[in-house]
């Protein structure tokens, strides 16, 4: 999962008085199977960069090439297909469908993948097993604790075996014990050769053995 980011900048509500330059000409490269940590104070453009890499949003200029394919200028149909196939995004606020159960949340990304519901449920069971949340499978997300919600988000992000796993402040609202469990899961993913990008200001991540690169960001540019 070769990712190359060239000259990316992102200006919010361009051309209006409140124009705000979130990213200023970012250049970055992540090789396949690498784990990269984006560290920086909140509001330094980490989340914006992650959303551009995951094609959740489009840059104001510049190019992002993933596996040789330009993803920064994809029409929606292809951007969604790219997200559905190769991106596993773990959001800071988990972004789960509160009214649905854990299993229903985990199967959501696979609905349009062409599999029938039986095989989707098997994949979901496997993914929930690896995220250690299968004992709460049929419980509504509303009633889960922070740690359980995190694990449900992880299960949802990994259900379609993505190549690239992106985490945005994964341990922000977790206690120490759950953070350590999260790092174990990252470790096992790294061993399976996944490419991982984590945006965090938690110093715990910088000392991890399997981290190959740490990038510091300050108000929109790499330091």
């Amino acid at each position: 999962m070769m990712i190359r980011v060239e000259g990316i900048n992102k200006i919010f509500n361009e051309g209006t008085p409140q124009a705000f330059e979130a990213l200023k000409s970012i250049d970055l490269e992540v090789a396949k199977g690498e784990t990269m940590i984006l560290s920086g104070v909140s509001g330094s453009g980490k989340s914006t960069l992650l959303s551009l890499i995951a094609a959740l949003d489009k840059p104001s200029s510049g190019k992002i090439v993933v596996e040789g394919e330009l993803i920064s200028k994809l029409p929606d149909l292809h951007a969604s297909a790219y997200r559905a196939k190769s991106i596993g995004f773990i959001f800071q606020h988990f972004n789960l469908l509160e009214s649905l159960s854990v299993e229903e949340n985990v199967i959501a990304p696979l609905i349009n993948s062409g599999f029938d519901i039986v095989s989707i449920k098997q994949m979901a069971a496997k993914s929930m097993q690896s995220a250690a949340i299968s004992h709460k499978a049929s419980q509504q997300v509303k009633e889960l604790s922070g740690g359980e919600k995190q694990r449900c988000a992880i299960a949802r992000a990994l259900v379609h075996e993505p190549e690239l796993i992106i985490c945005d402040e994964p341990t922000a609202n977790l206690d120490r014990e759950n953070s350590l469990k999260f790092i174990e899961i990252l470790q096992s993913l790294h061993q399976r050769g996944k490419t991982i990008i984590v945006a965090t200001h938690d110093p715990l991540f910088e000392t991890l053995p399997f981290v190959s690169k740490v990038v510091h960001m300050e108000d929109g540019s790499i330091v």
Binding site: K85, I107, I111, N112, R156
Partner: protein
């Protein structure tokens, strides 16, 4: 096996899941639609069923009715016109008719009194089959009459249990025995009808021996219709000939007007319904917008969300359509539309209760579906698109 694929289809599973999770929003739309469809289809069912039955009875109506006209109003026709009409060749089954409305002034109600020539073999046999167990001898010997259900109810309400005395124009009273009531299936035509022998009817209306109300006759060869009318106009100057075609067209228009005018007034209700729907579906709460943002973030494209919204609305439309039409069918054809039928049968004279013959036309259902579904889908389309294009980064906030 299609049902296996259908049952295991992932999209349908998720669609039905979301449908039941957002029950609140859809139940409102389904209820409004069921009420609107129920009202609309009951009206159209009643009007098409009545129209169908009336056109059915036209079959054995004679082709022409001829009556004398004076100052724009039909008056009694001299019976010697009868033999003059008989002389025209190409005409068959000429029959005089004596009928009219008898006014019961104290209550301002009126009955349709019809005189029947009982010595005519054909009509007496018909009478036998119409009213089971009618012994013709006693009917003929004494002055007696058959009454429609409405008349029977009205008379027994005013203590005329087994006979009624008519006031003839000469001031004398004519006591007539009520023999039997006509069956309830004939209410549409015979609800306020009184059938008696023709000379009794003449006496009640004070018609002379040589006068009839009008003359009916058939012309089997329909190519002859126009020149027979021409001959009649040459024969008598003050004559009015009514063809069966005109009656048929009048019956079609009778309820078409009502259905049509009702539809136009109904448009107002539909427009308000559309505004409510548009406002409800586009008043997207932040939660639903966030949910769509999340779905978009995990890989759903705009096309998938549109597909989800399309099927969601299609399910709501189909369920409420079938429910509305089925309930209307029960209401009209099984419980005989207790209240709504008064609009069609009128309530000013004698109250009437008709058994509607079920009529289900493909076109009628098509009209109801189109009249309801197209505005509904149009109202929901733009809000559905607005939600579907929420940018995925919406989920990031």
């Amino acid at each position: 096996m299609p049902s296996r694929i259908l049952m295991n289809n992932a999209f349908l599973h998720f669609l039905t899941l979301l449908l039941f999770k957002q029950k609140g929003k859809h139940i409102g739309a389904v209820l409004i639609s069921v009420i609107i469809i129920f009202l609309l289809s009951s009206v159209l069912f009643i009007s098409s069923s009545l129209q169908n039955t009336l056109l059915g009875t036209l079959e054995n109506q004679s082709d022409f009715t001829l009556s004398r006209v004076q100052a724009g109003k039909a008056i009694n026709t001299p019976s010697d016109w009868l033999d003059k009409v008989l002389e025209i060749n190409g005409i068959s089954k000429v029959a005089p008719r004596v009928y009219g409305r008898y006014f019961f002034t104290p209550r301002e109600k009126s009955f349709l009194v019809v005189g029947v020539d009982l010595f005519d073999e054909q009509s007496s046999k018909e009478l036998q089959s119409l009213v089971k167990g009618l012994d013709l001898k006693s009917f003929l010997s004494t002055d007696s009459m058959l009454v429609g259900e409405g008349v029977k109810a009205f008379l027994s309400e005013h203590y005329y249990k087994d006979s009624f005395s008519f006031k003839t124009p000469q001031g004398s009273f004519k006591k007539v025995k009520i023999q039997q009531t006509l069956p309830s299936q004939t209410n549409l035509i015979a609800n306020d009808m009184i059938i008696m022998s023709i000379d009794l009817a003449r006496e009640v209306f004070g018609l002379g021996e040589d006068e009839v109300t009008d003359i009916t006759f058939n012309v089997p060869n329909d190519a002859e219709w126009d020149n027979i009318i021409g001959k009649l106009h040459l024969l008598f100057y003050d004559v009015r000939v009514v063809e069966k075609r005109e009656i048929r067209k009048a019956y079609e228009n009778l309820y078409n007007y009502k259905g049509g005018l009702f539809l136009i007034l109904y448009l107002v209700a539909m427009v308000t319904f559309m505004l409510i729907l548009y406002q409800r579906y586009s008043m997207v709460y932040s939660t639903e917008r966030k949910e769509i943002g999340i779905l978009r973030a995990v890989g759903w494209s705009i096309k998938d969300i549109l597909k989800l919204k399309f099927y969601e609305t299609a399910v709501v439309v189909l369920v409420s359509f079938v429910l509305g039409v089925a309930l209307a069918y029960l209401y009209v054809f099984i419980w005989d539309a207790p209240l709504l039928s008064q609009i069609f049968l009128g309530g000013a004279n004698l109250p009437n209760q008709v058994e509607f013959v079920p009529v289900l036309e493909f076109g009628l259902l098509g009209s109801i579906f189109l009249f309801y579904a197209i505005p509904f889908l149009a109202a929901v389309l733009i809000p559905a698109w607005k939600i579907a294009v929420t940018p995925p980064k919406e989920a990031m906030l």
